[in-house]
Structure formats: structure tokens, C-alpha cells
Amino acid sequence: MAAKSLTKFERPSRGTLREWTAGYLFASPFIIGFLVFTAFPMVYSIWLAFHRWDLITPPRFIGFDNFIRMFKDPLANLSLYNSGYYTLFAVPIQLVISFVLALALTQNIKFRDLYRAGFYLPIIVPLVASAVVWQRVFHPEFGILNEILGWFGIQPLSWLFKPELAKPAFILMSFWMIGRQMVIFIAGLGNIPETLYEAASLDGAGALTRLFKITIPMMTPLIFYNMIIAIVNSFQTFIPALIMTDGGPENATLFAVLNIYRQGFNYFNMGYASALAWELFVIIVGFTIAQFYISQRWVFYED
């Protein structure tokens, strides 16, 4: 093959050339959009991270100052801790809840479509509307959560007003928005061949054995997929906090992107905000790559 292509370079025919042109033309929205709105901004962001720029005076090169400042900045470190805490607790529980709901919805019960629609509904509620509602769900005096907890004799808690309860409150709220993961799991459960279960039943495997020996191993690729997406999203969560607590109380819900947003759009530290964004970017991408390596030990792919 190599020898052939070395000795004889075939001029593409007219039809081929026309197909090439058509390919580039039809793909051009993506190619141009990628260059202008993704590739260039990323390169620009590296440049920004080495400059100080308040949008008023011209940008000034300051070397690694933004990065040095970033590692010393207690708020920046706290914001990473907050996002890490949120991700660490929210993601595993979200996966368990959505998986269990998906399992339940593949059993032979009535109104499955209704349940599925109901569990998915929170995803389509505008995030800003969800935030203002949940802000009030958590209200210590008039909120619906304390009212319901009161039925079980639990004293009212001041969720969003106590630093030690604010992050758990956001984690609790995130369990409300697991519809997408659940639907993915339902689709995956439907693709497990029935013959596997039949064979296992003939061998006398009980329901639990079938769950742990067939269902869960067959679902590991989707569990992994949902986990990666959930981690990437959780590390970047901040809009509910922006609306509901504005990062408070005592910065307990100052999540990483909220800190970057403030540095950029409230304090106009464009360079510093870019450096912070790169720090978070490296953390997220690093986490993702690490997960891919770890996944080789537990994710089971057919063939």
C-alpha cells in the first residue's frame, strides 16, 4: 500500500474534489464555530492567565503572579473544597437513587410511564424557577421541607442559613434532578438480553444473585458514563448557589465556578479569573482521565 501511494499519486477526480468541497462547506459552521468560539477562546484564556486586566487599563503581563495568588487565596481554595465536597457526596448518591428508580421502573408495575415522566419532570423546570422554589422549600419557618419533617417530629432546621447545612441542602436538591441519569439507566436495562436471566434462573440463581451477577456487571458501562457526566457537571455547579444563597452563609456555598464568575464579572479580574478557570479545568480533566484508568478495573464491556 505504502509503495503504491509513493510511486503513484492519484489526482483526485472531479467528482471526488466536488465531494471534498461539499464536505468542507457543509461542515464549515462547526469548523468556524469551533475556531472562533472554542479554540481561540482557550488559547486567549492562557494568554489572559498571565496578565492583569480590569477591562479599563490595558492588560499588563505579570508572569506567574495570578497562579501564585491562586494557590494562596483562601477563598479560591475554599471554593474548590466546596465543589469537591458537593461532588463527592452528590454524585454517588445520585447514581444509587437513579439506578434503583430505573430498576423499579423495569419491574412489572402499573403506570410506569407516569412515574418516569414524573421523575424526569424536574429536569425541564427552568433552573432559575427551581432555584427560587427550593430557596423557599428550605425556608426555616415557612418552607415545605421543615413542615414535612415536622410530621415526623423533627425540629425545624435553618438549611440555607447554617454553614454546616447549606452544602447538604444543595446536595439534597440535586437528588431531585436525576431524571436524565434514570432514563439512561432504563434504556440500558432494556438492552440486557433476556436469555441471560433465563439461563441464570435455570441454574437456580435468586433475584439478588441475578442483580449482582448479571444486571450490575452489564450496566457498568452506563454507570461509568453517568458518573463521568455527573462529576464534570457537579464540579461546575453554581447557578442554584448564585440565586439561592449568593455563596453564603460564610462562603459555605461559594462553589468554584461561582468564585470564578465573581472574579470575572463582579471584580473584573479577567486574568485572575482565567487562571482560576484553568485550575478547575485541570482538576476536572485530571479526574476524568483518572476515572478512565480506574474504570478498566471495574467496567465490563461485552466483546
Binding site: 468560539f37 477562546p41 482557550m42 489572559l48 427560587v132 464579572f265
Partner: protein, 299 residues
Amino acid sequence: MATRSPAISSVRSVTRQPLISPVWSRRIGLILLQILMTVILISFLVPTLWMISSSLKVSREVFAHPIVWIPESPQWRNYLKIFEVLPFGKFAWNTVVVTGLAVLGTVVSSLTVGYAFSRLRWPGRRFFFALMIATMMLPEVITLIPRFLVFRWLGWIDTFLPLIVPYWAGASALYIFLVHQFFRGLPMELEEAALIDGANRVQILTQILIPLSKPVIATVAVFALIQHYNSFLEPLIYLNGMDKWTLALGIRAINDSNVQNWELVFAAGTLMLAPVLALFIVAQRYFVQGIAMTGFGGR
């Protein structure tokens, strides 16, 4: 212990002839599961139902103990009041314009780019396709600041352009991927025959492929519609003047300015939810299809 041993032995003795037949124990299990799922369903719906119900309350009922679930006389006036507090009519119109143009751009660019990736051969196709997949995984935070500066340099701040133009330029890799997957499933003979008949590529796309692709177009349109209608961060960053605001910004504003009037905030939230809820009910199968096909969707 001694008192319990007969009980245990009696349980053992019935294993051959169980008190409850397996069929019945399975049936009882399913009934319990049904009850449990109903309880969970209600807990998932409660925040939304509470918002809708409270949007029709008088202030006294909003802050009543125990909670008033159904307002005594529905206060439809609350919905009129929010239009007096803030120009929600203007916000709604802006939302329609931005969402409409962004969705249109998403659909058009997903179709053309998806066509190029799935049915045309050109050098670099695999490279750009891999690049597109990579942008789906890219943490968005990295472009937050520099993209703003690009739009600022273009003079697009406080216009709708940053909310629309990127979506005409294939910013939604996910939807391109979806169209690509769908087009790949259609037989190549379709366009070979058309090419021999002298049709050009635009004609093949618009007259042969698109008419066959209504389900995937509907899925893309429904997801993109929800995404842009619900979008909060982009309007927040790019739209300053209130005459440019979308509904999402209006809700934040009414939330900040009406600390005492929960019923107005809830009315605004319900008002914004109503169209997407209607769409969800009508087009539910496209949601489910879309998520099953791509694993993403919504927001």
C-alpha cells in the same frame, strides 16, 4: 431462646409448603413497590405543585401553619400583578426571539454538519469529528471568561447575538452527533441514485434526507428549545439593560425584589414553566428517545 426455637422449626417445616405461595409473595412485593414508587413520585412532584398552588394564594395563606395545600379562592390576580412589577411581557417576547433563532440555528447547523460527517468523504473528516466529540466533554468553565471578551471585542454585549450566533455555528456538538447517528443509518443508495439523476448536495439534503429525518429533527428541536428557553447564565452575562432581559432574568429580579411576596415569585415561576410543561406533555416521546440515543438532553 427456648421460646423461639419452636417458631424457627415451624418456619423450617413450611419451606416445602409455604404459607404464602411464591406467586402471592411476588404479587405482594409488586404492590409494595407500587406504593413506594407512588410516595417517591409525590415527593418529586411536591416542589413543583407547591409552586403552582402557592402562585394562586393570598399572602396570608403562603405563610400559614399548617401549610395550605389548596388556596381557598385562587388569586389569578397574582399573574396580572407580576406584569405590573416588571415588564414580563417584554421578557417573554425577548425569550421567544432568542429561543426561536437559537433553535433554528441549532437545527440547521446540526443538519448540515451532521450531513458532512455522516455521508460525505473529505480529508480531515475524522479529525474534525473527533474534535467535535471532544468539545462535548469539554468543561464549559474554560471558555466562560474568554468568550465574554471575544463578544465584547465584537461589540455584541447587550445584544441577543451571543445567545444566537454560536448556535448557528454548530456550537451544539451533541445535536450534530445525534443527526450524524441518524443519517448514518439511512442507506447510501438514496443519494447515489439522486446524484446520477443530477441532483446537487443541497437538494439531496433538503429533498431526500430531511423528509426522512423528522423524528431526529423533532428531538433536536425539543431539546434545543428547552435548553435555550431555560438558559440563565448566558443572558445573565451578556444582557445588561432590562429591555433585553429574558424570562429567566425576570424571575431572578422578581425574586430579589419581592422578598415578602412569595406568591408573585411563584406566579412568575409557574408562568415560565407553563410552556415547557405543555411541550413536555405533548412531546414526551422525543425526550425519552433523545436521551436514550445520546445520553444527554435538556438544559
